[in-house]
Amino acid sequence: MGYVIVEFPERREVFIGDDSQGYNRNENDEYRILIVGDGPHTFRLGGVLNYAPSSQTVVVANTTTINPLRVIFKKNV
């Protein structure tokens, strides 16, 4: 079991595969720590496709709540 933060400048819905994981940020605009099973997972964001990469497969392993894996999406300019 692992812990992941999905970084993006806006509050966006996060998908692992086809399954929504809720939003990357809470109502106070703080990053939410998502609980994710260990191993490779394919992440993407919901909403407008104004980010890159469009999806990314990352391996979740050796994470903690204090040191979660950061999955970073950049906003297209």
Binding site: M1, V14, I16, G17, D19, E30, Y31, G37, P40, T65
Partner: protein
């Protein structure tokens, strides 16, 4: 001449009868024309109108013949009576059940409840628990016209049992009927795939891999497969239509999990086994299913995957991440027995029957224990991680108020209760329950005592009490009494 003609006519009648009867064999499952991840018997397609979204309740019913069916039925009776107050009135914990995963004897109770809801409390004892199912099945197998049917290659003892269950217990209902009921709980009836030695569940998610439509499958057939104990019943054979295709699209998690080098071994093996149904190199045209107890005798393995990963169509982790679920409750009704042997007092080695009995149940009991511990350990780990995060946050705020934690971890309330005869305090009653046979016939008094014991164990369970108090701080456990006369009758001495 007359006698010759009579014999000849009789043979003719028998031949026609045999042909007709063997022709009665029906296909267990049909082909799915086109894969659609949004339709079929899946949790997401069942309503949550009456079911609380906030709390996610999973029940697991073990195998153990009528003993397990009666024990799990007693747990349902206890949950029916476990009411708590909410602003709109009173709720039963029974109505909060989201998923029941079951094996063998427990599958009768799970399926009956899913099909007939509260009707189970009036009808199930006469429909199944008080019935001599074992005797009926033997009589059916010995009835001469069935010999011809049993001689057919596509009709075996398990099909005969399925027909009997269909007529006497499940009223011809199919998974399509369950889907049309459109109500939780979602039931997962588990059998064991003989080739893989792993659990095979009767859900559309599993049947998608076979390009088969679960809606047409009789509930009775799945229960027969789930309880097809080797030797007593033959394996159930179902068709795998994957080679004929249905435009199946593997879910992304399955593709990700098939990378052997990057995955934890348990995740990879789970994915590899599932993919074997679709893999053209494997050519698994027929799948042979045996008692679910051979792969997982408490039905917890499927829920464990959903609890601990995103690798399930009803991932509880995803629901927690979506904030759909804030409290998770897992209640396992484990009707395992414990043999009380004299081996250790004797020099002579145990006999063949003792050895076979041990081989049939010993390893599976250990595996079941490990599965319960897996769920408990997972909850413990989540709680410890959450505590670590909260402690760190408090320390950071005290020492360095300007600093911020990397993210926010939202709390989840987790409870796992295992109900088993181990927890009976009275030694004589415990030994009596642990000595009950695994059979599809038990006397009515034994069934009634098992129901009472299940309710007693539920009400006395520390974890169950914690759940109820968390839901309703004013909740008080009911006092459950074991009828002394009943006990004296079933457990003399």
């Amino acid at each position: 001449m007359f006698e010759m003609r009579t014999v000849s006519q009789s043979l003719g009648v028998v031949s026609v009868l045999a042909i007709l009867l063997t022709a009665c064999a029906y296909p267990v499952n049909t082909q799915l024309k086109k894969y659609d991840a949004t339709t079929g018997y899946r949790l997401q397609n069942l309503s949550s109108d009456e079911n609380s979204d906030d709390i996610f309740v999973i029940l697991a019913f073990s195998g153990g013949g009528t003993r397990a069916a009666a024990f799990s039925f007693g747990v349902l009776e206890g949950l029916r009576d476990a009411t708590y107050h909410v602003p709109s009135g009173t709720r039963r914990l029974l109505d909060d059940i989201d998923v029941i995963s079951s094996v063998s004897g427990g599958s009768f109770t799970a399926a009956y409840y899913a099909l007939f809801r509260d009707g189970i409390f009036t009808d199930f004892p006469s429909a199944f628990l008080h019935r001599n199912v074992q005797g009926d099945l033997i009589r059916l197998a010995l009835w001469p016209p069935n010999w011809f049917r049993l001689a057919s290659s596509d009709f075996d003892r398990v099909n005969l049992a399925a027909e009997y269950y269909d007529e006497k217990i499940f009223n011809g209902k199919t998974f399509g009927d369950l889907l049309r009921e459109h109500q939780k709980p979602f039931i997962i009836l588990n059998a064991t795939d003989m080739t893989l030695g792993r659990r095979f569940e009767f859900t559309q998610d599993q049947f998608d891999l076979l390009c088969s439509d679960l809606s047409s499958v009789k509930v009775a057939t799945s229960v027969a497969a789930s309880s097809a104990f080797p030797g007593l019943l033959s394996p159930l054979t179902i068709r795998n239509f994957a080679a004929e295709g249905c435009d199946f699209k593997a879910p992304q998690w399955l593709k990700d999990a098939l990378d052997r080098d990057k995955n934890p071994p348990r995740r990879y093996v789970h994915a590899r086994d599932l993919w074997s149904y679709q893999d053209p190199d494997e050519r698994r045209d027929y799948i042979h299913l045996l008692d679910g107890g051979l792969g997982d005798n408490i039905g917890l393995r499927g829920p464990y995957v959903a609890l601990s990963s995103q690798d399930s169509n009803w991932s509880v982790l995803s629901k927690i991440n979506r904030r759909q679920v804030h409290r998770v409750v897992v209640i396992t009704a484990n009707a395992k027995t414990k043999s009380h042997h004299e081996w250790d007092h004797e020099k002579a080695a145990p006999g063949l029957l003792d050895v076979l009995s041990f081989v049939a149940s010993g390893p599976m009991d250990n595996y079941s224990f490990d599965t319960v511990e897996l769920v408990r350990d997972f909850f413990t780990q989540l709680n410890q991680d959450a505590k670590g995060w909260a402690d760190c946050k408090n320390l950071l705020q005290a020492q360095c108020p300007a600093a911020a934690m990397p993210g926010v971890l939202e709390p989840v309330d987790l409870h796992a209760a295992e109900l088993s005869f181990d927890a009976i305090e009275d030694e004589n009653l415990r030994r009596c329950m642990e000595d009950l046979p695994t059979s599809f016939y038990l006397p009515v008094a034994t069934v009634t005592l098992l129901r009472q014991v299940a309710r007693l164990l539920l009400m006395n369970s520390k974890e169950f009490r914690q759940v109820m108090v968390a839901l309703d701080p004013a909740w008080q456990p009911q006092e459950v009494q074991i009828d002394p006369a009943l006990r004296a009758k079933v457990c003399p001495g």
